[in-house]
Symmetry: C2
Subunit: 454 residues, 2 copies
């Protein structure tokens, strides 16, 4: 008979669950290079089949496999979004050991992909397994959608959803990530900002030329840089916000509920600055104001600029091209299409027709209503297992395909997972605490029971 | 009995020789990625063994195989330097067809690596074979040294030479490249400029940070760029020459012979500018002066500059690092060690201790005396087969490991090969003329005979 999942119902499986997690982390699955992707997708499919789930696999164009799985019955359906790919990692980036040879030290597992997002993927499977062993059956229907392209911007998920809308129909979705904050309370993010990634480029000549000619050929690097910076200077203000196309004038104001959520979020700017070792903007001093900007304002961030060869190593040429890469984070109210159109108009109006604009990727902003059932149920599960209320963020400042997968279909979504504030996602020495792992696993079982009852 | 090699002694083998060339070009051998390198080295070894040469293979540290081969007897030894690796190539870079599916059109073979340097490698083998079929024996001893790392800067050749000096002892060396000039006369280069490749980098913070924080974290891109350009502005003059460390004051003047060689070189600046589609430096108007600079002056060329992610695609961070990549071409009189030491002193003296300097590679300048026997012999062979005198360049403006392999051992070296002025080496639609191929093959046979007699 369905019910809660207790710690004692998990303990007997603890060693095996850890072993499975290490095995998942040992398998490389780097979507940007393709390394290990087939083996990893097979490993995930086999684990889901051992759970007893019905699995199917889809591809869209040249995509890596989308894995779909379903298990359980009931009037309610819970959708779980995860991904089996990871960011690249090389030991020389600052790792204390081979990033694909997991190590356990001081209660933490260190490995590439452990926090993002193999732990979250696996504890959900294991929680369902423990639940079935404890209670015999699930109190609801659970669907997994597990892609292999999250780390490269989920380029095929929108088309996948368009082609398989019926598969992912659900009453709520738990997103792939999730962590505890700096004060140790679990966080729930109710959405994500959108993103538009564009490349602006300028040419000085049709061809690069071998640098042995540099004595007689003019090097246009400085001229290209001056021109590109003149363009960039018109695009953003000193707060890092886009100033083109009147975008700031059209932003919706945060609602009263949004401002109330901000009030409840502990955020200390000095701690943040010291821990991340970054320089805060001069006008950032109030933590509430910082959060308001992070959730409800857009950015126009120069994430890369290059003239000639900007990659590793060297290419001995007189360069002919300058490139700026911008990522614009978009709060609710701004869409990538609108922002790109305004950007193109702006460049034309300002006489920058020599700038070539290329879109590198885009995702819509997404928001879930704080009153949604899935929010209430997840909060209650956290309260029960962690003994504290979760902190609810109106949105994550970062981006992901949450709108494309969930909100475009009317599915409320939120984040819940086993990470923590120092989990070093995407960076060296990525890690999770094993205590977090098993607490999240237990809370997830509680969530299953509660969502089945609701 | 040894003698000249006539066209009629080559014609019977013509179709097979072309077939072999296409087979060589079809085999990828990209040293920067490793693709096809083992297969290509095997193909070269097998071809040398079919010729009847004694082959041996060496590695130095993590190098690709160095192939050594010898054939023939006599008081004279001729060393041939070639490489079996090629530059990367993708169809989308502007190729009219798959760069590794050779095509013959209008008397030319188009393929990656055909000019640089698979044709030169193969016609030397085939010329020896035709010579043996025509005359039964070679008039001298010929040694091949064929490496697989020329396209990545020959990082192991100096150590190879130090470990195997006895292997490469010779009376003269024919270098891997070679071409006809714009006026169709074959060129002989008597040397190469040296090169020092360095990376200068500046940090703004210890870590990059995820760009979702850009609302509150200062983006240091502009500050880093300003600082890096302030550094770069002190390093070179408007003629693209290094201005630090008094290097220009110490340059030896070109000799009377050098200036005489320059007088005989046809070089039209307007044609060059139109054909390459580049902008000449404002003070370049006299072709003699242009050649003097290219042969006898150094460069300090900014070949790459980046802040944040400068490679393909996008990495959504607030960047923390700026990098400039410089390549300095060095005429005789300047060594990489001297230039690097002066650069470091200059940065320190000017208060740029925040700039981190890293050497990315280096080669010494190399020069062969115009009176060397190998020069006389090669000129005579060209005159005999092409019916014109070659044009002798005191040096190639570009760089290669000629000093490390030859001049450090007292071996005079020069270039002679089957390329032409529009062969698009390193670029899209690389090609050679088949007529050049067979003319070079015949002239090489003549050169063997003459060098054996000398």
């Amino acid at each position: 008979m369905p019910g809660h999942l207790s710690a004692s119902q998990i303990t007997p499986h603890r060693d095996r669950y850890i072993h499975e997690l290490l095995t998942f982390c040992r398998q490389r699955s780097i979507s940007s290079t393709g390394e290990g992707m087939t083996a990893m997708s097979q490993m995930v499919i086999e684990r889901l089949q051992r759970l007893g789930a019905r699995t199917s696999v889809y591809t869209v164009g040249q995509s890596y496999p989308f894995i779909f799985a379903e298990i359980g019955h009931g009037p309610r359906t819970l959708l779980l979004y995860n991904h089996y790919d990871v960011q690249p990692a090389r030991r020389e980036d600052g790792w204390q050991h081979d990033p694909f040879e997991p190590e356990i030290r001081d209660g933490r597992v260190y490995a590439r992909g452990v926090a993002d997002n193999k732990a979250n993927l696996l504890f959900r499977i294991q929680s369902i397994e423990a639940y079935l062993k404890a209670h015999g059956e699930l109190p609801l229907r659970v669907c997994f959608l597990i892609e292999g392209e999250e780390e490269i911007g989920s380029p095929h998920i929108e088309r996948f959803v368009q082609q398989h809308r019926e598969l992912i129909a659900a009453d709520g979705c738990i997103w792939e990530v999730g962590r505890r904050g700096f004060d140790n309370r679990p966080l729930i993010y109710l959405g994500m900002r959108g993103i538009l990634m564009v490349e602006l480029s300028l040419m000085a000549a049709a061809n690069e030329i071998h640098s042995s000619w540099a004595n007689i050929v003019e090097n246009p690097a400085n001229a290209l840089l001056d021109r590109l910076r003149a363009v960039l200077d018109t695009l953003s203000d000193s707060a890092g916000r886009p100033t083109f196309g009147g975008l700031l004038d059209e932003l919706p104001q945060p609602s009263a509920t949004d401002l109330e959520l901000i009030e409840r979020i502990p955020f200390d700017l000095a701690t943040f600055q010291v821990e991340r070792d970054v320089l805060l903007r001069a006008d950032v001093s109030d933590p509430r104001d910082a959060l308001r900007r992070l959730f409800f304002e857009p950015t126009c961030n120069l994430c890369g600029l290059s003239v000639g060869h900007g990659a590793l190593g060297i290419k001995t040429v007189v360069p002919n091209r300058a490139v700026a890469k911008l990522d614009l984070r978009l709060p609710l109210g701004l869409t990538p299409d609108l922002v790109e159109a305004r950007l193109r108009t702006h460049l034309h109006t300002h006489g920058f027709d020599d700038v070539h604009v290329q879109r590198l990727g885009a995702l819509q902003p997404a928001r879930t209503n704080p009153d949604a059932e899935i929010v209430r149920v997840t909060s209650a599960a956290v309260q029960t297992v962690y003994g504290v209320e979760p902190i609810i963020y109106p949105t994550m400042p970062a981006s992901g395909p949450m709108y494309e997968l969930c909100h475009a279909q009317g599915i409320p979504a939120l984040t819940f997972g086993a990470g923590h504030a120092g989990d070093n996602v995407h960076a060296a020495n990525e890690n999770i605490y094993l205590d977090d792992y098993f607490q999240a696993l237990q809370a997830f079982g509680d969530l299953l029971w509660r969502f089945g009852q609701s």
